[in-house]
Amino acid sequence: MTDTSQKTTRIRSTNWVGGTLSWFWLFIVLLPIYWIVITSIKSQSEYFVTNPFVPSSQPTLDAYRLVIDSGFIRYFFNSVIVTVGAVIPAVLVSFMAAFAIIRSRPHWFLKSANSILLMGLAIPLQATIIPVYLIIIRLHLYDTLLALILPSIAFAIPLSVLVLSNFIRDVPNELFESMRLDGCSEWQTLWRLALPLTRPALVTVTIYNALLIWNGFLLPLVLTQSPNLRVLPLALWTFQGQYGINVPAILAAVLLTALPILALYVVGRRQLLSGLTAGFTK
């Protein structure tokens, strides 16, 4: 994504249509979020008698207490384990594959590897959930966190390889050559040259994959069963089933599950947003 400085001359007259629409849509976006925040600090009885959009006169953290007492700390750590456990290997193996695809002497194996991975971009992998379930059962991994990690790694690979290989391609060949003349092996070049030079892209794919896996719902729904193995989105859903009537508690849970990502957004907004569109924009 480029800088905006070149853009200034363009807008002379006011963009009324875009402006009005933007403020309107901003309202649509923020209203539910505002509502989540103010409702989560209402008491259950207050929820039923006050106007939904008026903040509580006696704010309380009861809802949050209930959520935390319902095991959300455990679910939080499950989510962390699955996300970290899947994203780090996924990015690492994708990086190695991307390096091989760009830097290697042409080889039938790499060519077919590349086209298999590209094919993975076009296929809705969720449609293959039933065989994934069968494989996980046969590997005796059903109802473990590893059952979530392994397919998550696989699903993350195609786009990661695509984005990373684009970046490795941009590294000037002279740098590789000089490494080679210095007697470095390709393995050393990989870690000492390509890795630091592609760091922005690595950050980008890491964030993108982490967000997808952190928010993933179908894999945990199908591949786990035990309450103590729930990850956050699944926990949220079962919590809603249990406490359907306690809306403040449900919304407190919604807010708590989103909090780590929102915190990340505050810290690394630029990387996060570029991570989201990685591979889709030039």
Partner: protein, 308 residues
Amino acid sequence: MTATSVGSAGPAPSRSAKSVHGRSLGWLAVPALVFFVAFGVIPLIGVLFLSFTTWDGIGEVVPSGLTSWKSVLSDPGLPHAMWVTFQVAALSWLFQTPMSILLGVFLAGAQKYRAFLAVLYFIPLLLSSAAIAITFKALLDPNFGIGTGLGLPFMSQDWLGEPKLALGVVVFVVSWQFIPFHSLIYQGAVRQIPTSMYEAAQIDGAGRMRQFFSITLPQLKNTIITSSTLMVVGSLTFFDLIYVLTAGGPADATRVLALDMYKRGFQANLMGPASAIGVILVLVGLLLALLFRRLGGGDQTASQLEGA
């Protein structure tokens, strides 16, 4: 960033022969390939294989020829699910595309407050579909939800209880979740349009509208195709959002293909027919991707390959 060990030798011997070293690095791609074959390629073949079997999800997988396909293809549930999927895809495309383009164009402006708007704007991108669905389910409550809050009686409908309304709600919530993403793509694309084109248009006396339709839109053609592909192909896999929001109801009004597959497989324990639906999903997805690629009049992935 360190470009380790300064190259002592002069220019590289063969600039043209880019990555030819006489070394094969194929082994570096092996780990990625193993993962992807195990949980991507094998399941893809597996879903086709399972569609010719009978399996209850627990016991043995028994080959059963065309039984599953016959039962799926003769079931009126399939055309219904396809119709619902089509409606969700088409309506959410129709709503999201113009909105995202207009918002993207607006957000691409250089004014500082727009950057601030964008920060708030992209929040839905961060939330899980489950969280979004749960929020809207509560917010659309006819008694304690948005209608009461805004004092607008017509907003106090049984949104998720009426088939027609529920489909509309699904389209709306999908748009709420994804318009920011597509605006972000358009914002990036608009910023890449050369300013000189607008300067030339201004000299020629073209107004705002004229500039939008004669420069911005044509220049966004490839982005529109990319974004539409993601929207339409992506809409085939809206599972979590709809599952949590309506569970396919009321009366199957929002039972899209992905949900149909899940319900047949994991709730009715009919993995064979469910796999047949999975095969249909894969085929429809591939077909749509190819179709959009043709619309682009060229190699769509190739243009995405540049830069990122």
